[in-house]
């Protein structure tokens, strides 16, 4: 039997998150098929339902997975400090929210806004769930002596999530709803920062894991680490305007965002600068599965940051905005960076039989690589689709919207097929993780 300090509530969060990821992947593939078989599922599950089913399942995966990683990390940093009953209640509320929300999508009950299309009343349940998380984490942090940068990042992420999630619902008040442009400005301000807030949770976890794996404790306390953290926070707060460059909002919004987004060059420069060092480290640690995912996420940060820098220049944004380049950016970062780090963390925390990961398991290694390759094809295809539409929207538009879409048929096929293969790769990886969860928690409990 596991001893109490090994009992990790975080792992239960991770298991629920992984199940949501499987759902999200299936809904994503079903949704994408609409691009090549128009409305094939109209009568049972239309695109209008599948898109929110996909996006919300993915959001749940990310939020619950990140919470689980924070708990699992604290279980190592400050054992016995987590209030397990509170955490169980939190997980229970998450599951309840998921049931309500997915059920309402299946019944075509919407009412919310993009990414949160469910009836707004369920947002209260999510906010309550998050409050439980805040209470638990504040208690743990107070009793934790050392506060390396990842603890700051988790605290920031948790605090900003509730702030921006609430901001996302300001439209419930007539004052904020009266002016269309202002309303949209605030909505995308909130959405942009919200993504930043879960990134803080996930990047924090990545920091913690790197420290744990490389056994180098100095970096997470160094001033440089904190400078990078503050730069990230600065971007979270002020770099959301690139979503709305074409919105006729006050022009300072555009300037602030454009200027702030250029600080992202610093992140890019840093990746390039430290790449050699990381590569040497990678050669030593690449056999270790969690590390492998973290290293892959670095490459994806590089690719997505480069794309983001292009999209942040307003003149280029005119071409990419409202096209699948934006989707490439959204899915590229949520899969390549967030999912990659979370999976790495799952491998570290759930520890599927260690030898399976270090040397053997050709199967898992194969699917790790097929995940990377299919994701790359998927990402590039979205970018190509987006550029073609971008040229159309900035051209003379002699073709109608429908004609333009039909010229993209080939790309749509690659998109759907690569998405399908991506799903398969991920599902195999997830199942092996879930297997070890069930083994850790149920099979061996009897002794």
């Amino acid at each position: 039997m596991k001893t109490t300090n090994e009992y990790s509530i975080g792992e239960y969060f991770i298991a629920v998150a992984l199940i949501m990821l499987i759902f999200g992947l299936i809904f994503g593939v079903l949704a994408s098929a609409n691009y090549i078989f128009p409305a094939y599922s109209k009568n049972w599950l239309g695109f209008v339902q599948l898109r929110p089913l996909h996006v919300s399942s993915i959001m749940f995966f990310i939020l619950i997975g990140a919470s689980g990683c924070v708990y699992s990390s604290f279980n190592i940093i400050s054992p016995y400090k987590i209030n397990n009953s509170l955490a169980k209640l939190q997980l229970g509320c998450w599951i309840l929210s998921i049931i309500f929300i997915l059920f309402s999508y299946f019944n075509s009950k919407f009412g919310g806004r993009e990414y949160w299309e469910f009836p707004p009343k369920y947002a209260i349940l999510i906010a309550f769930t998050w409050l439980l998380f805040i209470i638990n984490v504040i208690r743990i942090i107070r009793e934790t002596k050392e506060k390396p940068v990842y603890i700051w990042m988790w605290a920031t992420g948790i605090f900003f999530f509730i702030l921006t999630f609430s901001e996302n619902y300001l439209w419930q008040f007539p004052y904020f709803r009266e002016h269309f442009v202002k309303d949209m400005t605030i909505q995308w301000k909130a959405n942009g920062s919200l993504v930043g807030s879960w990134n803080q949770l996930i990047y924090g976890t990545s920091f913690f894991l790197i420290e744990k794996i490389s056994k180098n404790k100095s970096y997470a306390k160094s001033n440089l680490a904190f400078v990078m953290y503050f730069l990230g926070l600065f971007n979270l707060m002020f770099n959301w305007g690139h979503h709305i460059y074409t919105l006729p909002t006050d022009s300072y919004v555009r300037y602030v965002s454009y200027i702030v987004s250029m600080t992202e060059w610093i992140f890019l420069a840093r990746i390039i600068y430290t790449f050699r060092k990381n590569l040497t480290e990678a050669q030593k640690l690449f056999h270790h599965f969690p590390y492998r995912f973290l290293f892959a996420s670095e490459i994806w940060v590089f690719l997505n940051l480069s794309l983001a820098l292009v999209m942040s220049v307003p003149a280029f944004n005119l071409y990419t905005h409202g096209t699948h380049v934006t989707v490439a950016h959204a899915m590229g970062t949520t899969i390549g960076i967030n999912t990659m780090i979370l999976l790495g963390a799952c491998f570290e925390f759930l520890k599927p039989e260690t030898d399976l990961l270090s040397n053997g398991s050709k199967l898992l290694k194969f699917f790790f690589w097929s995940f990377q390759i299919t994701l790359f094809v998927f990402w590039i295809t979205l970018i190509i689709m987006g550029i073609k539409k971008g040229l159309w929207q900035m051209g003379n538009q002699s073709d109608s919207f429908n004609m333009m879409m039909s010229t993209l048929h080939g790309e749509f096929q690659v998109f759907v097929v690569s998405g399908f293969m991506l799903m398969i790769s991920l599902v195999v990886i997830i199942i092996s993780l879930l297997n070890s969860f069930f083994r850790n928690h149920f099979q061996f409990k009897t002794i």
């Binding site: 609409n34 691009y35 128009p38 409305a39 239309g46 695109f47 209008v48 898109r51 929110p52 075509s108 919407f110 009412g111 919310g112 806004r113 993009e114 299309e117 700051w152 300001l170 904020f176 709803r177 009266e178 002016h179 269309f180 442009v181 202002k182 949209m184 400005t185 605030i186 995308w188 301000k189 904190f226 503050f230 926070l233 707060m237 002020f238 979503h243 709305i244 460059y245 074409t246 919105l247 006729p248 909002t249 006050d250 022009s251 919004v253 555009r254 300037y255 602030v256 454009y258 307003p314 003149a315 280029f316 944004n317 005119l318 905005h321 409202g322 699948h324 929207q393 900035m394 919207f401």
Partner: protein, 137 residues
């Protein structure tokens, strides 16, 4: 204590964030830009959300990608209220048919009028400058 600079810095950023938010929330300059929504248009926006039109359509380029941007659809030549209501009722190959009540129809049209009045979503209505910044033509 050596942690103090972190706390100062955090507080500073936080204050900046709240000031910026406050400016955006209270800004009146939007009001001169014809983006006011009548209560009927506000109801219309809720209709838009109730049927999740945003899963396929965009406003100012934001939304799903299967269908066209509808910010200014109401003022496109040949696409008047009747055309719009007809396509909503009948649907198309991709688009499902929606059975809106009479009130919902009126409100939705008001909403589309208000989005149209708020500005032009067409990215061609901007000029690019050598700095990479854009401005309205």
């Amino acid at each position: 204590m050596k942690h103090y600079w972190k706390i100062y810095f955090f507080t500073l950023l936080q204050i900046g964030f709240f000031i910026y938010s406050y400016i955006l929330y209270s800004s009146n300059s939007f009001q001169y830009r014809n983006d006011y929504k009548s209560s009927s248009a506000q109801q219309g926006e809720l209709v838009w959300q109730k049927y999740n039109c945003q899963s396929c359509h965009q406003m100012y380029g934001l939304g799903g990608y299967l269908g066209p941007d509808l910010t200014n659809v109401i003022s496109v030549k040949g696409k008047n209220n009747n055309y719009i209501l007809a396509i909503i009722k009948s649907g198309s190959i991709q688009m499902p048919s929606f059975n809106l009540s009479d009130v919902e129809k009126i409100n939705l049209i008001e909403f589309l009028k208000s989005t149209d009045a708020s500005g032009k979503a067409d990215p061609r209505s901007f000029d690019s400058q050598f700095t990479g910044m854009i401005s309205n033509k």
